[in-house]
C-alpha cells in the first residue's frame, strides 16, 4: 500500500500524541493541552502544505467542494442568471420607478399584465425570463423585466431576503425605503442568521444591525450605540488575548531560537544524533577535527566545528535566504565511498524537502562528482 507523504505525517503526529498522552495525563498539564498541541501542530503543517485536506482519523478524504448550494428561489428570479448569491443591484431591487419606467409607475399587483403588453412593439419581444442586463440597459425603454419582480418582491419571498442577508442588509439600510419594515420582520422571524444573536438585543427598529463595524451615517442613535458596544466589546476581547511575543522567561531564549539546543543536552546545533560517541572515532581520510583552539566553544563536550573554514562566499549566498527555502535532505547513511573524484553513497529512511515539496524515501543511492 503506497502511503502518501501527508498520510505518513498524519500517522506520525497521531503516534507521537498517543505515546506522550500518558506523560501529559499523569502529573502533566492534561489531555486538553495535548489536544491543543496536536491541533496547533496540524494547523502549522497544513499552512506549510505538508499535509492536506481535512484530517480524518481513519482516512484522509478529499475536501468536499461546497457544491451548488443554489437556493431554489434563484431560478425563479428572471433577471438573476449569473451567480448564485449575486446581489441584485439597488436599481434592480428597488427600482426608482420614474427613471426606469417612464411609462408608468409600478403598482404592486397590477403591473404585470399591463407591462407585459408593452414589449410588443419594442425591441425585445422576449419573455421576462430573459436574463442579462436588460434592466439596466437603456432609459426610456420600458423594462418589463423590472416590474414583475416588484410585486413579487413586495411579498417578500424567501429568496430575495437571503440575497439581501448576504450583504448584511447594507443596501437596505442605505435605502431606508418602505421595504424595510417587511425585511426587518423577516430577519426577526427567520432566526437562521448569525444576526439572530443581535436581533433580540435590539428592538426591531427600522434598521438592520451590522456586524462589520462600519456604521452608516443615517443610522438612528440606538443602532449607532449598539454598534459602538459591539466594537468596544470586540476591542476588549482583543486586548485580553495574551501576547506570545513578549518577554521570554530566562533561560529559555536559546531554546526558542535554536532547535535542539536544550539546556539539558548542551550539544552544538550541528550535532544531529544524541549518540555522543565517546572518544570520537574519526575514520581516516576524513577532515579530522580533533583539537581546536578557537574561541567560543559551543559546548563542553564537542570541539568547535570550524564552520568558517568553508567557502564563505558560496555558503552565505544561501544562508541569506530563508532556511526553509533550502533544499534539504535528512537521512541516515549506510555507506559512503569514494573513488578518485567519484563519490557514491547509500542512504536510507530520509525526508527530502525539495522545490517546496516533501518526499520521503526508504532507500536512496547517490552518485556525485567532486
Amino acid at each position: 500500500m503506497a502511503t502518501t507523504t501527508s498520510q505518513v505525517y498524519i500517522h506520525v503526529i497521531e503516534d507521537v500524541v498517543d505515546k506522550v498522552r500518558d506523560d501529559f495525563i499523569n502529573g502533566g498539564p492534561g489531555e486538553a493541552v495535548l489536544s491543543e498541541l496536536q491541533a496547533l501542530w496540524e494547523m502549522k503543517m497544513m499552512q506549510c502544505g505538508a499535509i492536506c485536506g481535512p484530517i480524518e482519523r481513519s482516512s484522509v478524504p478529499k475536501t468536499v467542494a461546497g457544491g451548488a448550494i443554489t437556493p431554489v428561489h434563484d431560478l425563479n428570479v428572471p433577471y438573476e442568471g449569473t451567480e448564485e448569491y449575486e446581489t441584485p443591484t439597488a436599481d434592480m431591487l428597488f427600482p426608482p420607478t420614474p427613471l426606469q419606467t417612464p411609462m408608468q409607475t409600478p403598482l404592486p399587483g397590477t403591473v404585470d399584465n399591463s407591462m407585459y403588453h408593452l414589449p410588443g412593439p419594442n425591441d425585445y419581444p422576449t419573455t421576462p425570463h430573459d436574463t442579462g442586463g436588460v434592466p439596466e440597459v437603456k432609459v426610456g425603454r420600458p423594462s418589463p423585466y423590472m416590474q414583475p419582480p416588484s410585486p413579487w418582491m413586495n411579498q417578500r419571498p424567501l429568496g430575495v431576503d437571503v440575497n439581501v442577508a448576504y450583504v448584511e442588509g447594507r443596501d437596505e439600510v442605505d435605502r431606508g425605503t418602505s421595504h424595510q419594515p417587511t425585511t426587518q420582520d423577516f430577519f426577526v422571524s427567520s432566526g437562521k442568521r448569525k444576526r439572530e444573536d443581535l436581533a433580540p438585543h435590539f428592538n426591531t427598529g427600522p434598521y438592520i444591525p451590522q456586524q462589520d463595524g462600519a456604521g452608516d451615517v443615517n443610522l438612528e442613535g440606538l443602532q449607532a450605540e449598539a454598534i459602538g458596544e459591539m466594537l468596544s466589546a470586540q476591542t476588549n476581547m482583543a486586548s485580553r488575548i495574551p501576547q506570545h511575543d513578549g518577554p521570554i522567561p530566562d533561560g529559555y531564549e536559546d531554546i526558542i531560537t535554536t532547535p535542539g539546543l536544550y539546556p539539558y543536552q548542551g550539544v552544538a546545533s550541528e550535532d544531529y544524533n544524541a549518540v555522543n560517541t565517546p572518544g570520537q572515532d574519526l575514520q581516516t581520510g576524513t577532515p579530522a577535527v580533533i583539537t581546536q583552539s578557537e574561541v567560543g566553544d559551543d559546548d563542553d563536550d564537542e570541539p568547535p566545528l570550524n564552520e568558517n573554514d568553508d567557502d564563505d562566499d558560496f555558503d552565505d549566498v544561501d544562508q541569506g535566504d530563508e532556511p526553509n527555502a533550502q533544499q534539504l535532505v535528512l537521512a541516515q547513511f549506510d555507506k559512503v565511498t569514494r573513488t578518485k573524484s567519484k563519490w557514491k553513497c547509500t542512504l536510507k529512511d530520509g525526508i527530502m524537502h525539495i522545490n517546496d515539496k516533501d518526499i520521503l524515501f526508504t532507500k536512496a543511492t547517490g552518485e556525485f562528482d567532486f
Binding site: 496547533l40 502549522k44 533544499q327 535532505v329 537521512a331 553513497c345 525526508i351 522545490n355
Partner: protein, 106 residues
C-alpha cells in the same frame, strides 16, 4: 534509547518545534515535557520512515562540499537531480545531512 534529532529539521519537525516553543513560552507546557515530546517525535518519525515508506530515490549531481564530523556526513550538491518512481526534481543547490545508521542499532 538514543534518537536522531536529525528529523527535527524537517518540515514536520520544525512545525512541532515551533508549536512546542509557543506553548512553553506561554507557560502551557514545561520545557521538560516539550523535550519528551521531541524525543518521542524522533522515535516515531524514524519508525514511520522504516515501516511506512516504500519509495526509492536516486540522486546525481556535482559535489561542491563534503564534510564528515561526529559521524555525520554533510554534502552540498550543485545542479542535483532527484529521481524516484513518480517524478524527477532538479535543483540548483541541495544539502544532504546523513547520520550513521549503525549508531541507532547500538
Amino acid at each position: 534509547m538514543a534518537t536522531f534529532e536529525l528529523y527535527r529539521r524537517s518540515t514536520i519537525g520544525m512545525c512541532l518545534t515551533e508549536t512546542l516553543d509557543e506553548m512553553v513560552s506561554s507557560g502551557t507546557l514545561t520545557p521538560e515535557l516539550a523535550i519528551q515530546v521531541l524525543v518521542q517525535f524522533d522515535k516515531s518519525m524514524t519508525e514511520a520512515l522504516e515501516t511506512q515508506v516504500k519509495s526509492k530515490v536516486s540522486i546525481k549531481g556535482h559535489l561542491h562540499t563534503y564534510r564528515f564530523c561526529d559521524n555525520v556526513w554533510t554534502f552540498i550538491l550543485q545542479d542535483a537531480t532527484f529521481k524516484n518512481e513518480e517524478c524527477q526534481e532538479n535543483v540548483g543547490r541541495a544539502k544532504i545531512v546523513a547520520c550513521d545508521s549503525k549508531l541507532l542499532s547500538q
